[in-house]
Symmetry: C3
């Protein structure tokens, strides 16, 4: 049951990140193919880097066509329903934040499953959550989201600490759900209230 | 015989992409070392990402020095004969298109060899064909060729469909040769006639 | 004993590259988290790419938390003592050059250990030495250090030749120490006297 819940989280993350990539591409007026490429890169970039780092190859999306199919469907939906989002950049933010929380959890889980040190699993979760967006930004030649926005990777790290703190006391599914909510809400609050980390004077 | 034909295709792709990387570097007035680095990156970038994604490590060029030697020779030839190309950017286009077709085929072939789903092999062929050029563009801080030029990755995808459609009816070598020609010719025609994919209004 | 000397070299390289990444981030006025991210990327980028290319996965830093801990401590030290460096860019240069020499040696050594062709081990050492800095520059959207500065990767290649020439006649530790000094001194002299490789007319 826990396995199927983590799979569900992974598929949800794939769908919301694909939509966020497609929206970013439509904002930049890319052609249809560019929209599909950006949706793919954003949705599978973080998980692919994670799989490569831990040696889980062929990487997940090459072994199972579910994710690529979901990405194509999500991209298609994003194109069709683009007019219903009355504010593209706000919609992008919400999907991006949700994906961040979902993928942070799958990254931590994959690390724990192969006995990587818990503190390093937080790093792995952060990479899984953030690097789809970083590759998307590199390809669009924008400042990577990591440096541009306050509380992006930091939200993943806080979420990771929440996960590891809850794991001994609650069921896996409860700890995972709480972590997703913490990452997503922290990120949304940070953008709404313009929270910033201090820079060094 | 089929194995040696695919090896030949791989070596030809390496040589033409090395030349395309060297020409791009000479257009940008990089020094000798920069020319060699760009030739290497363009020639082995796509295949390296493919090998890493499917877990074929150490990656091919680390196990067999043939490709690095070919790249050095091709770079040397590109520098010596640079004056015979009376139009650098047209020469670059031809070599780049040829490499795209050659590497798309090697990527599909490597995927099929380890029983990856045929549709995903097309993605793998596209990555093998395109990502040498994408890394080259990222290092030169240009807009990645993927987004800049109409019918780049799209040509690889059409080529992949041709390959899989022909495979049941023709010998492997025939299907491979046809695919190389389709990708290369599609790309050249697209540039000549300025074909574009539609963007979303 | 040789194993522990190479480990010592690896840890020293990690520390000096972490400091160089942290200094680059402070020069760009990034926030505290951005400083930590850049220190990590610069310190583990080259070794991570090397590990992925040779299939040494999970990559080193995921199996042993020593490097991540050292990076955090080095970043903390760089922030605290930033005022004692009266010239940030000169300090950055010295740490960067030292890291280049140290990581070139660890890259060559890891390649030789799995019987990769010696000439390709030089390429592996060069990648290990250079790519932490290249990723750092890509994330900061600067011209990659590879193309910007004369005698960067070239110094690694000369160092690699020195290593392989000395290996049959001297102990491993002596060859390694000489290589580190050659790479670091070549790089510092090249910057001081503005050595450049010729470009193609």
């Amino acid at each position: 049951m826990s396995v199927s819940y983590i799979l569900l989280i992974d598929f949800c993350g794939t769908v919301v990140f694909a939509i966020s990539g497609a929206i970013a591409a439509m904002e930049r007026k890319l052609d249809v193919f560019g929209i599909i490429v950006l949706a793919f890169v954003t949705a599978i970039g973080g998980g692919t880097i994670r799989d490569v780092l831990i040696g889980n190859t062929p990487v997940t999306w090459l072994r199972d066509p579910t994710s690529p199919i979901l990405i194509l469907l999500a991209t298609f939906a994003a194109i069709v329903f683009r007019r219903t989002f009355n504010n593209l950049s706000r919609t992008l933010l919400i999907f991006d934040s949700l994906g961040l929380g979902l993928f942070t959890v799958t990254g931590i889980q994959k690390g724990l499953a192969i006995n990587i040190h818990p503190a390093l699993c937080i790093a792995l979760g952060t990479i899984t959550g953030c690097f789809g967006g970083v590759i998307r930004d590199l390809l669009l030649r924008e400042i990577p989201v990591l440096f541009r926005k306050e509380f992006y990777a930091s939200a993943c790290i806080v979420g990771g600490v929440v996960y590891l703190s809850m794991a001994p006391f609650f069921s896996v599914a409860v700890a995972q759900t709480a972590t997703i909510l913490v990452v997503c809400i922290l990120r949304l609050l940070a953008v709404k209230y313009n929270w910033r980390l201090p820079s060094v004077p």
